[in-house]
Amino acid sequence: MAVSIEEQELKSRLNLIENMISEGRRSTENWGWMFIFWGVAYYIAIAWATWGHSSLAWPVTMIVASLLAAVLASRKAQKSPATTMGRAIGAVWIGVGISLFLVMMSLSISGRYEPHVFIAIIGAMLGAANATSSIILKWKMQFGCAVVWWAAAIVGCFGTENQGSIAFLGALFVCQILFGIYGMILKSNKRSARQRPEGAAHA
């Protein structure tokens, strides 16, 4: 009996170690809101450019959204610990974001902006970012988003302007809004599961 109690105690220590290590790593899953945020920013820019016929729509929306995202992300980051995985994923998205911004601004200013190119570049780059992120996180659902973006990029290359636009708007809705909501629901479910009493560790 004494051996059994000791064995249980040792197993509970091992479980505690496993739980706490995975608890620390979970801090990277809290970014569902960022997908929704950028999805909404893209929709605002598209609506403004389409109905407002303003050449300022994309640069202004993207600059304001980038500043706002940076402030919100840094506030959120202060509450969570830094992890190597989190930094790796952050690096991918920051890199892709800067690349997209520079290329799109340059195309726009040089007057070489063309809808097919716009859809193909955005689709390919967001596909790459989602795929990289999904492989790091081992998250199959996000790889599905990468496939949707790549499909939109291909439609952008081969389809008409209308077909490309529909593919782009569809990908935006599925991969930013729906995926963001899914990420937030997943996070909220995990948080509720973790709030059970056995999660506490006292000396």
Partner: protein
């Protein structure tokens, strides 16, 4: 029969073990985050972190962010070695307990 290893008493405390395990998965973590994850009180958490610090298993960094004090903890190489050794010893003991 091979001699069974002893468990490191500094790490064996449940809260100290939880803290080291948490810190092993992150680069550094704030006091409030550790408190939330362990469900511990400020006093108890501070005391256990101090023991880990005295043993050289964690390092402390204090700074101000937007005029608010922030205390950050990170696991040292010594702490990582100690935790690895503890897990190894734990597995060895568990193996012996199952065989007995």
């Amino acid at each position: 029969m091979p001699e069974l290893p002893e468990l490191n008493p500094v790490i064996h405390g449940k809260l100290r073990l939880a803290l080291l395990s948490l810190l092993s998965g992150v680069e550094k973590a704030e006091f409030t985050w550790l408190r939330a994850k362990t469900g511990s009180t400020d006093g108890n958490l501070g005391a256990q972190l101090l023991k880990l610090e005295e043993a050289g298993y964690v390092a402390v960094e204090k700074k101000f962010v937007q005029r608010k004090p922030q205390t950050l903890y990170r696991m040292t190489d010594q702490g990582r070695e100690a935790l690895t050794g503890y897990v190894r010893a734990l597995k060895q003991l568990l193996g012996a307990a199952i065989e007995a």
